[in-house]
Amino acid sequence: MEIQYEKDLVERAKNDPDAFSELFDFYYPKILNYSLRRLGNIDVSKDITSQVFFKVLNKLPKFTWDISFSSWVYKIATNEIYDFYRSPKNKVTSLEYLQTVGFEPEDLHDIETELIAAEQEVERHQLFLEVQKHLLQLDLSYQEIISLKYFEKKKIKEIAEITGKKEGTVKSLLSRGLEKLRSLMLNTMDMQLNREKNVIKVKAE
């Protein structure tokens, strides 16, 4: 979306539901997939996405252009994911939460079918799942930055805006995070290699 167009749209969205709809349609898939890549669970990601947009709706009138709108939405999503990890009580399906704020799914069966299809889509990306499996073992601050950099293709400046960290901090966290991820992946590969060697050895014996 062109920057100026988005600026006008955001300002209009404060009082115009049609403009808000347009923003929602543009950002919904981005936030849903960002959550999914961070969490690896489509059901939870769907609920996190819902919470993010209810927050966007509530906070939009007070939104100022200290950071870009895109960074602002991602920041809300990042905080929601952070809260999800930090607070066990959030680890329930948020369908209940959504129903309290007026969400009424017309057909639960259709949603379930849609979720299954989405899970199947995720399962097709084996390399991603492998990376994600290791990434989820890292500290949250590394996860955030690596996800934003590689999954969402965000620039360092944008990551700094989203996470509220200085660009220098983002760079060093990214560097350290990659190093830790590499170590984890190497260990796994070694373990797999050793396992395979043992299997071959057993078979030979």
Binding site: F24, L32, V101, P105, A118, L127, L178
Partner: protein, 235 residues
């Protein structure tokens, strides 16, 4: 190896899922919330009906207040306060030179006199029937225009303030007029902190142009006796 992890991450084919049904359901619910929070068509109208009603009531009340304050006659006390207040606003805009001219005319401190009048509990406008109107500048000159209280047995001279040295103590003069003032000058009366009755004249430009005070016995006794008392006797 760091480079290779970077390469791996760059080359990963990330999943891109769609949840159209969820998206539409969520949008619907968000827009309902939007309507409740900021007012869609109906809530907007409802909210504004109350706003318009409140505005209408306030307008009627305001019109009422304006009508009452403009149509009902003001008391002489209220009028006097307004006159003094307007004069106060006027003199603050004067240059030092203009102020000196006025002060030499009334022989008193402008601001001090107005403040004194404003604080007096009995400040009022002198009724027109008690004023003898004269044409300035021929007949009005602070040097020889003095005013007297009508019907007083013990006739007392009223001297321009700051010019009491010109009064002759004990002079009794028959006098038929009340307050002599040029046309257009609003005449106010009040009692100063020393207990003297003061007459303050303010012209149509909101400039104080005359200040007279009724001298009491003790004031007269304190006057220097060598000065000549100029007095114009009203015929």
């Amino acid at each position: 190896m760091k480079k290779s992890i970077d390469t791996i991450l760059q080359s990963v084919d990330y999943p891109e899922v769609k949840l159209d049904i969820h998206q539409q359901a969520l949008k619907k619910s968000l827009l309902e919330q939007y309507g409740k929070k900021r007012g869609g068509d109906k809530p907007f109208m409802k909210r504004n009906v109350f706003r318009f009603a409140a505005l209408g009531i306030m307008s009627i009340a305001l019109i009422g207040v304006i009508t009452v304050t403009t149509l009902l006659p003001k008391t002489p006390e209220v009028q006097a306060q307004e006159i003094v207040s307007n004069a106060m606003n006027h003199i603050v805009k004067l240059s030092d030179e203009e102020r000196k001219v006025l002060e030499s005319k009334i022989k008193a401190d402008l601001q001090g006199s107005l403040a004194e009048a404003q604080q007096a509990e009995d400040l009022t406008v002198v009724p027109e029937e008690e004023i003898k109107r004269v044409d300035p500048p021929k007949e009005v000159d602070n040097k020889d225009v003095f005013m007297f209280r009508k019907g007083s047995e013990d006739v007392q001279p009223i001297a321009p303030s700051g010019d009491m040295g010109n009064a002759v103590p004990g002079t009794k003069i028959a006098f038929s007029g009340d307050v002599m003032a040029p046309h257009g000058v609003k005449v106010l009366r009040y009692t100063d902190p020393q207990g003297r009755k003061v007459i303050l004249g303010i012209n149509e430009q909101n400039e104080p142009v005359m200040k007279m005070m009724m001298l009491r016995k003790e004031d007269l006794n304190n006057l220097p006796k060598t000065k000549e008392f100029h007095l114009r006797q009203d015929q």
